[in-house]
Symmetry: C2
Subunit: 560 residues, 2 copies
């Protein structure tokens, strides 16, 4: 699949972070004779993009820690011709040269020159989206993409002038910034246009994150847009929301998403895909086989749909960079695998991870999907420190093929996501998940892991042994049986379940007469385990019954 080479190929790489740096170092390791020129328009190469928020919050204290490999290091160890502050502005595919602007101290000092190439790898990344609003160019309205951005934000916070900040966009970067600004004692308001934080997740799976934000005194404003920014001189002083609210602020962070830097490719006549990224084949080659594209600017195949899609995440960027670097200098490499959008974020004491499709995205993509939700402990419940997680497994109705998963909670949510992402790589089904032999000892897991529990539930559903009621579905016109104990019910009544009948599961067999056998019935407990037992009892006694997915715990997240 791979090969080495000693051909004196001239490789030009555009962009020196993540994908570009991975490509360059792998190319060197494959080929000592290659001439490898790494262009980076900004000052820094190979820095830890994903670490930026954490230095602002001083969770990462040492700025130098974020420099994975300096330009000097890359020159020394890998004999790379690293050229920072040099921007590739065009590609002449006929002449096989790129035009480069070398930045001077002022723009008058800029120098333009041509650099011949045999192969090009485009790793230009993506740029933060900045809405076209008056005031958006204020000195304290900032985005976060590189070390310069980071320094700028941190300097403001360090100066003590930021008591209140507004973060726009409740995606990964937005949430990480919120958390880190709170660490610095800044009061934070978070604005999200969609009606939930982390819009990539199913609604009820994002709720625990929203709760964590509120617990940490973050003002959460969902379903509202940023309408205008008021300023005083060079500084924004408040933002106005679409609902009319005005929030005073000394700092605005825009985290609304990124736009692929595909202009260079598109002006060179390379094919651009349906989601705005550079089209690539399985070796990350663009429509010109001598030009590759990797990372946030490109469109790899998205596993769950099998179609090209931008998935701007660091992992795929690094790994596809590595493969493109190898292919460019040897003509061979393993094919880049599909990406599944596997991701994770920590927000205070709650973390959430996902891979593949959600119920909502499956619907958007026109894919039929079922799901189950379990609430379980990250390790043996009897062992001290067990933390609760909610795991939602999305799968194909008939085949049981796993389409995706979301997991929110404390410790160990990343493990379950990675296990399920691994199964998805192989096209695995929920029955595969049920049969996995996972590591168990009390400090690490359970003999029946949350992954197993979710897979058991899904298998039960596929086999017609159990039927689930979606946690956000209507409970009108059904007979609702809450099988919890009286005190439990009192503490956390089931949302939108008027007229529910209370029969503790252990009494159910003896109290069947209190129920109407002719009525469609939904049972509910705290998380779905007793509901499962109750549903089985009722079903075997002739009831048409569904178990409420995730019980009251998850339902109440839908309607709280």
């Amino acid at each position: 699949m791979s090969a080495e080479s000693n051909a004196p190929v001239r490789l030009v790489i555009v962009g020196g972070v993540a994908g570009g740096a991975s490509a360059a170092t792998r190319a060197r390791r494959m080929n000592e004779q290659a001439e490898i020129i790494l262009f980076e328009k900004d000052d820094d190469v190979s820095f830890a993009n994903c670490g930026l928020p954490y230095h602002i919050g001083e969770e990462i204290k040492d700025r130098d820690a974020l420099v994975v490999a300096s330009a000097d290091f890359l020159r020394r160890r890998f004999r790379l011709d690293v050229r920072t502050r040099e921007e590739v502005v065009s590609i002449d595919r006929e002449k096989r040269v790129v035009t480069v602007v070398r930045r001077g101290m002022t723009s008058e000092q800029d120098k333009t020159y041509e650099q011949p190439y045999d192969k090009v790898i485009l790793a230009p990344g993506a740029s933060p989206i900045v809405p076209d609003l008056p005031g958006v160019d204020s000195d304290n309205v900032l985005t976060l993409r590189n070390l310069v951005d980071m320094d700028r934000i941190k300097a403001r916070v360090d100066s003590g002038s930021v008591r209140r900040a507004v973060v726009v966009g409740a995606g990964y970067i937005g949430l990480e910034m919120v958390e880190q600004l709170r660490r610095r004692g800044v009061a934070v308001d978070l604005i999200e246009l969609r009606d939930q934080v982390l819009p990539l997740l199913d609604h009820e799976m994002a709720r625990p994150i929203e709760e964590a934000l509120r617990r940490n005194n973050v003002g959460v404003h969902t379903g509202v847009g940023l309408e205008s920014i008021q300023r005083d001189g060079e500084l924004a002083t408040s933002v106005r929301l679409s609902d009319g609210k005005e929030l005073p602020t000394e700092l605005v962070i825009l985290g609304i998403g990124v736009r692929p830097n595909a202009r260079l490719a598109s002006e060179a006549g390379l094919e651009i895909g349906g989601t705005g990224g550079i089209s690539i084949d399985e070796y990350s080659r663009t429509s010109d086989p001598d030009i590759y594209a990797v990372g946030d600017a490109s469109e790899p195949v998205y596993g769950p749909t099998g179609t090209p899609m931008r998935v701007p995440l660091a992992g795929p960027a690094n790994r596809s960079g590595r493969l493109a670097g190898e292919h460019a200098v040897t003509g061979m490499s393993a094919t880049a695998t599909s990406v599944w959008g596997t991701s994770v974020v920590r927000v205070f004491d709650v973390s959430v991870g996902m891979t593949g499709l959600t119920r909502a995205s499956a619907k958007r993509f026109g894919k039929e999907a079922d799901s189950v939700t379990v609430v379980a402990k990250h390790h043996a419940g009897y062992f001290p420190g067990a933390e609760t997680m909610t795991l939602k497994l999305v799968y194909e109705p008939n085949t049981g093929k796993v389409l995706g998963a979301q997991c929110v909670g404390g410790e160990g949510i990343d493990k379950r996501i990675d296990v399920i992402a691994t199964a998805m790589h192989f096209g695995g089904s929920v029955r595969d998940l049920a049969g996995l032999d996972l590591a168990y000892a009390p400090p690490f897991g359970s003999a029946k892991d949350p992954v197993h529990m979710a897979a058991f539930a899904a298998s039960n559903s596929l086999d017609g042994i159990e039927s689930f009621r979606d946690s956000d579905a209507s409970l009108e016109e059904v007979q609702i049986v809450d099988v919890r104990g009286a005190t439990e019910i009192e503490k956390a009544p089931l949302c939108k379940a008027s007229g529910s009948i209370h029969i503790p599961v252990d009494e159910l067999r003896d109290r069947l007469d209190e129920l109407d056998r002719t009525k469609p019935t939904v049972v509910s407990c705290a998380v779905g385990v007793r509901g499962h037992i109750a549903a089985r009892i009722l079903r075997q006694n002739g009831f048409e019954v569904q178990n409420l997915a995730g019980g009251a715990t998850v339902r109440n997240r839908c309607f709280d």
Copy 2:
């Protein structure tokens, strides 16, 4: 794959813990009309076997936490006919009855009766091996298998009379007992007949555990047997080892392994397998299709070899119990999947997990195997709290099919083992591992996870891009190049590498003349990363070169 049933089948289950309890509750959920009789010869059902050491050490403070489901609870919630202190002593397959002895207060009060059955599930577990040595019946020479054993050990420790203990056997239970006894302030000596702790692991992977034991002042005696136990009245006072050493002690814990409780099955004429467990098919049926066997007494298919083997672990016991319970009352279930010996144990601040084959066990099974070893951080190195792990990946030389993995370190070792175990379930190769889309954010992982790094190394080896020297191989008659910096080398010289040449990797290209191109060459660094770069440079310059697997870190574990 599954089905429900309302047939009034009479199911007898022998053994009420783990597999037996899982079988009983699943059987009830599948079939409300079944008569389900659960026999347990001891006092307790469904207790947390794996938690016992932790209550002795008071890490689990509440004894009740270990009772997963009491007999009363099982009766109430699942209408199980639970009969504790009743032992099934024989099976008459002709008459379809089991003979039961109901224990009285004294053996004279024992009552014997026959219990008819339609189906039987055998879940008798295994018993600790007790060597035939004088003194082994002393009151303070104990094994740990159930709550009664636990109480007995804990009472001794609680009484304050145990200042010194000897633990015999450095497997999972032995190590957990060592850790928990140290928590209680007891001085502990650990004896292991094999020449390493955790004999299931490759030698160098077990070393960090041994170091953790020594750091915690445990006397580690490997390669020695227990020769005799000296006693004073009813109490052992010291043990003598095969090397002549005598260790005074107030408590001896035997953790040498377990023997399957297969007598009942064998006397009933059921087939017994090659490793001494009850033979079963893919539905856990014994050679009599009306009798099932699950858990430690049975022989499921061992994934890596495809042949039946005892794998006495809690996870497979619980999951196969569940499937057997379903099959017994409905005649249908999913097939029990193979087991891979996936396991994990925490020993003070170090944890180790494994799945599938080691290099050593592959050799024992006559399977060709290669391996790579990487040393990496459990999450982004620049993020505070990154802990180091050593991950060894074992795979088939030509296909790259993953055969097993071992991972030792701090946080996150269980995640890597579970990911690899999942890939093995699907017959995945190291190339699959290299392409996995795993969750990454700085607090959770790295863009290139340790799993990726190991898979990259293995793929390089398969592709002939890199060749590894086993960490324990001889370095005689090769040219050894240590590419670390001078201070690094001084701090941790490479073991058994006399005459090694020191050239820092960054100077290598310019100092090739100092090396002999005609000599087989081995490069080494701290963990193998710089060694990889150096090996690539040398190879492209005409050297025949290998990179020492895991660098000095792992080699020095082999010879320290």
